[in-house]
Symmetry: C2
Subunit: 228 residues, 2 copies
DNA sequence: GGTACCAATTTTGGAGTCAATATGGGCCCG
DNA sequence: CGGGCCCATATTGACTCCAAAATTGGTACC
């Protein structure tokens, strides 16, 4: 049953690889919101069969990252300010709750790794391209999420982050925010190291930047009710 | 342009209908966890083409309600105690956060409707089949969720609830829980009517019952101080 | 009597093909 | 000169068919 046939794993990973490749290009800004994703273009762009493209697109539709219009094809989901703010609130809820479970779970090696990723991001902010900054940021947060023991929660957070279409790219250029992000990362590691749960959670929440306008009325209060 | 072609809408709804039909049968216990979902069976069971069955199955896989094994087909996702508990925590997080946003948004008509659905559930508990109870419960919670202004959050909650495989059916029969659920529903409406946010949120959290047995080993240590 | 092997059947996965529909340009008419 | 209609093209969506793989049942052997 659970053998390890390379062909099977390869095929399965290949499908997911295509899916994440398209998602990556969307986040990188190569496929701006509203762009029509013609199957034939993707087919030759990624060198895959049409069926694979179609299945990957369907998965992306299930994640609401792309939109399907009957008999017109798929297109990158246009970003709606309302939806963007709702997504931000969802991230606040999920990542805030996850933060509660993370403090105290990092050993020395993990702390060192996180510190390294935080400094890598700082360096990227100074000397590298925006795309590299994006990568470094994702790497840091990916590692951070490994501390959360709730696999389902982690999956949900990953999906929620994935669902934010091109948000980073369009708003990062504002000088000052990236640098603040870098400081946030280091502060998170500091709090983790000190075992200061409140500081850590506060930093995680502060890190989720408000989208353009701040409708304070819709803010959710609520600290996480999660069991350890 | 955007004419009103019944074919398009019908086709789109038809696909989703098949998807929800399968999900419904899974929740109803007709397709227990671990069951192999042979495409040909579903094809003749729901009277749909194989392509439709496949696409619906893929969507269900994306929602982690069914599992796909290469060259062996799809099967209902087996319920793992660990995963079930993680899902419960996720529901606590999401529904608890949603509850915070609901108080004060219900007008008189909505309150009356909720009250009616709560009593309908109570009646179902007394006089109807388990399946009817399940339906009544879903109807109440569906209506309740309409109070949440965050559409993305609502979607996430619906998906999370959908992802719980057959949990209600397998554990509801324990006499006492269903009746407590009915009381919970009425208490929620009471709190909503009184505008008592804390009471409402507490009730929502209490309503998310702990998963059957608590495998202390699987717990991430720490007593789960769920609800209050 | 139990076990291991082998063949037949069933089921999946994918590719190819074909009809239906939207898009864009050109043409005709006002 | 501007607007509306019609047709050619390209793209999508669905059905069908075929090969590959796994499961099942049977049989022979130990």
């Amino acid at each position: 049953m659970a053998k390890s046939p390379p062909a099977d794993v390869a095929a399965e990973d290949a499908l997911r690889a295509l899916e994440t490749a398209i998602a990556h290009d969307i986040h990188a800004g190569l496929l701006p919101p509203g762009t029509w994703l013609k199957q034939i273009d993707l087919q030759e762009r990624y060198g895959r069969s049409r069926g694979d493209v179609r299945r990957a697109l369907d998965k992306l539709v299930a994640q609401r990252l792309v939109q399907q219009v009957r008999n017109s094809g798929y297109r990158v989901h246009p970003l709606d300010p309302q939806r963007l703010d709702e997504l931000r609130q969802v991230r606040l809820i999920l990542e805030g709750a996850a933060a509660e479970t993370m403090v105290g779970r990092a050993d020395a090696a993990m702390l060192a790794r996180l510190r390294g990723l935080a400094t890598a991001f700082s360096l990227a902010v100074e000397h590298r391209s925006i795309l590299d900054q994006h990568e470094a940021n994702q790497a840091f947060h990916r590692a951070l999420l490994e501390l959360c023991p709730n696999a389902e929660l982690v999956r949900l957070i990953r999906e929620a982050r994935l669902r934010m279409p091109s948000a980073p790219m369009s708003q990062w250029p504002e000088r000052g925010w990236v640098e603040e992000s870098a400081r946030h990362h280091h502060a998170m590691v500091d709090a983790l190291e000190a075992g200061d749960r409140d500081a850590f959670c506060a930093m995680v929440r502060a890190h989720i930047r408000p989208t353009g306008r701040i409708p304070a009325a819709a803010m959710v209060r609520a600290p996480a009710p999660i069991a350890d």
